[in-house]
């Protein structure tokens, strides 16, 4: 008994420097510092990075959609921008859909909306990634973009989670809202249906990516100038 106590004491003594080291607050040095000594990334920087992330995702999704449309969709079947809204998978989500609604909800709900969107698209993009490989003569660019988008979306989700934690002090779980059973993979659809479905999927994703970006930018605007944001 005493031995164990003594041993623990000895180990505690030996490990003492580590504790000391770990608890020392470090200076936060900005950008050019070789090793930024900040304990945490500031909120503004985080928000900027998230917005930048969302912008990229939207841009790539737009390219992906147009590329897919050119390659596989015959002209008469091409959707207009306002037609695919009701067939999107995320229509059931409690997301503000009009500008007036967006202006009314709080920052908290804004962030949560973004998180919901992101988390709801992770699975479908994985599915898309798989279906793209089944297409004949699908260019590598198509596949790469799809893959890229999928990865970045996951990263975005992490960012939003961190952001929520930082801004709202809430701990949320990643992929909490992800619905597993959105896309049915077991059924082998017909070619045309599959193509149309993929096309619809890409279009919907493009719209939702734009929404994410918009929400985040609005959030940023509210940080600086609360009453002048659209």
């Amino acid at each position: 008994m005493q031995k164990t106590v003594v041993q623990w004491g000895l180990w505690a003594l030996l490990l003492w420097p580590q504790h000391l080291a770990a608890s020392i607050p470090l200076d936060c040095r900005d950008d050019q510092g070789n090793l930024s000594r900040c304990t945490s990334i500031s909120q503004e920087k985080l928000l900027d990075r998230v917005i930048h992330h969302a912008e990229l995702i939207y841009r790539v999704s737009e390219e992906l959609s147009s590329l897919f449309e050119e390659l596989f969709i015959p002209f008469p079947f091409r959707l207009q921008s306002n037609q695919a809204a009701y067939s999107c998978i995320t229509k059931a989500l409690p997301i503000p859909s009009s500008k007036s609604e967006v202006q009314q909800i709080s920052d908290k709900w804004l962030l949560h909306s973004v998180l919901m969107l992101v988390q709801s698209w992770i699975e479908p993009l994985v599915y898309l990634q798989m279906t793209m490989e089944r297409y004949d003569h699908a260019p590598d660019m198509l596949l790469n973009k799809t893959k890229w988008v999928s990865e970045k979306l996951s990263s975005l989700e992490q960012g939003v989670v961190v952001l929520i934690k930082k801004m709202l002090d809430e701990n949320t779980l990643a992929t909490g809202y992800g619905e597993q059973g959105v896309v049915q993979n077991d059924v082998q659809p017909e070619v045309l249906e599959s193509v149309m479905r993929d096309y619809t999927l890409l279009s919907c994703f493009k719209k939702d990516a734009h929404k994410m970006e918009t929400f985040l930018k609005l959030l940023k605007c509210r940080q600086t100038d609360k009453y002048n944001c659209a």
């Binding site: 945490s40 890229w148 992490q158």
Partner: protein, 648 residues
Amino acid sequence: MMKKVGEVVLLWLLILFIQIAAGEGYSPPGKPTNISCRSPEKETFTCWWQPGSDGGLPTTYALYYRKEGSERVFECPDYKTAGKNSCFFSKNVTSIWVNYNITVVATNSMGNTFSNPVDIDVVYIVKPNPPEEVVVSVTEDKDWPFLQVSWKPPKMADTRSGWITLIYEVRLKLENENKWEELSAGQRKIFKIYSLRSGGTYDVQVRCKPDHGFWSEWSPTTRVKVPEYLPQERSMWILIVVFAAFILIICIWMIYMNFHSVKHYLLPPVPGPKIKGIDKQLLKSGKSEDIFSSLVVSNFPPTTSNYEDFLVQYLEVYVPEERELIMDEGKDLQDDSFKTENSTCDNDSGRGSCDSHTLLIDKGGGDKDDGQQTDQEGSQAEAETKSHEEVMEEEHLACCHENAQIPNISKEKEKVKSWPSLFSPLPQYSLSPVNRPNKPKMGNQHCLSDGLFTPNSLSSYFTQPGPSTTKGFRSNYWECSLDHKQSHLLHPQTAAHEHLQAENDLNAAYVDYMGAPLDVHELSVRPTEYVEVQRVSDEDVVLLHPVTPSQENSYTVSHQTEDYSRVRMVNNNNGLLLLQRDDIEEEKNMCPYEEEMVSRATSTGCRASVTPTLQNSATGINTALPILDEKAASGYVDTATMFGLPTY
């Protein structure tokens, strides 16, 4: 209890002893230092550390990291990928949203050592790979080649989607130089370099940097050679040289053709002497006698034979307003022999007063209206001036000149000289003084009066340049006495030039006649000289003929001089006062004597002595001696009373 404590203590001591005993250098490992992390594409990153001393024992290193906001400690997932003493963080474990807190622990059998923790923000540690596929090509553009450098971003960096934004930098240097020249290229991937050295070899490198991050390493060197493009400049230079040479040849040829005119323009020829009678060849030959033979007038000093000529030449009678006589000044002779100085009435101080209007007017307040007076005065002035300044010799010369002049007057019959201002048409033999023209006579008077009354001033007027100035004095007389019309007489000195040169129609006959400076003393030598009026022309010209001197005056006879008389003045009673000249020597002797008699002008004294004789000799002239005396004293002689000599 005691045993257990002792065991613990022993255990401690054992541990320490082992460490001490076994450690001939054995010790816990040193602290790892210099933890640096880099991310090539903002998606993964790698950390390296510097190990400390290993303490002589095999040491292992472990890297632990902790994410921001979480207390969970993770260990490095990959020690291998990035090499020794490194840790590679894959994409799954890399997050751009959180900071990493990294610690490296060195462990050996003796113990472990913790490094200082380091905080990492992945975004700020991005150091991309160097740009790839750097292609440098030489592009010809209008004979001025330039380098075109193109490259690709590193593969790992995702610039296409905008994940990373890179800016590039190019540097180049000549092959054998040491200094690089760095050029910023921005975000574009093509860069052009101009101003290359012809024929040089360049090394080119490219690197990149994200907007927040570190510069990449330089890409591998690309070597390129610039072709020669200078020879064309050389051909242009050759063309310019040929053209310039051609123009130069033309210029030389033109100068050669116009050599003489150019030489004449640049080096104007020195004017040679323009003396008539001087022969340059003779000058060059060096025979002085021959050279100056032409200069020497044969009749200089004028011999007796020439006196008459002189007299004739210079005796002029002034006819008022109507007549203009061309006065033969005998310029040629004079010029050759006497070098008439035109500058007798110039701006010299001595002579300037002669020009003075006021001075002349003041002086001319006397009765001297006649040009004769002026003449006489002029001559007198000359004489006086000469006497004042000149040497005796000059005076002799002057007297001789005068003597020479007098006979000429008589002998020269053809020459008609008007005496306009002095003589009115003579009714008889008597010389009646010509009605005086107002102004010009005034001028004459002035001159004469000046001469009479102010010999000193006159002397100042007439500066005597020298013996050769006899002519000059004559010229003064010209001006002083005559030239009424032009009123130059007011400024006898200044006008001397003009008269001599331009005006032949000076009416002052006696001016020239009197040109030889009258020496007062000389005048007094022969008081008894008589002059005969030879004839009186209808033009009111009086020709005077010297009369052989009376026996009274032995001087004159002995010298056989051709005495000449000079009309001194003409009074308003039509009296003609003639002055006589004697030989030089004797005149001189006489004149001073006479001078004593007279108070003022020595010439007047001379005259005074002369006048009686004149009275006797002059024909048709009634003169009263006493009157003459009076007048002579005042410098004024009544010609009518003077001449009474009938003899010829």
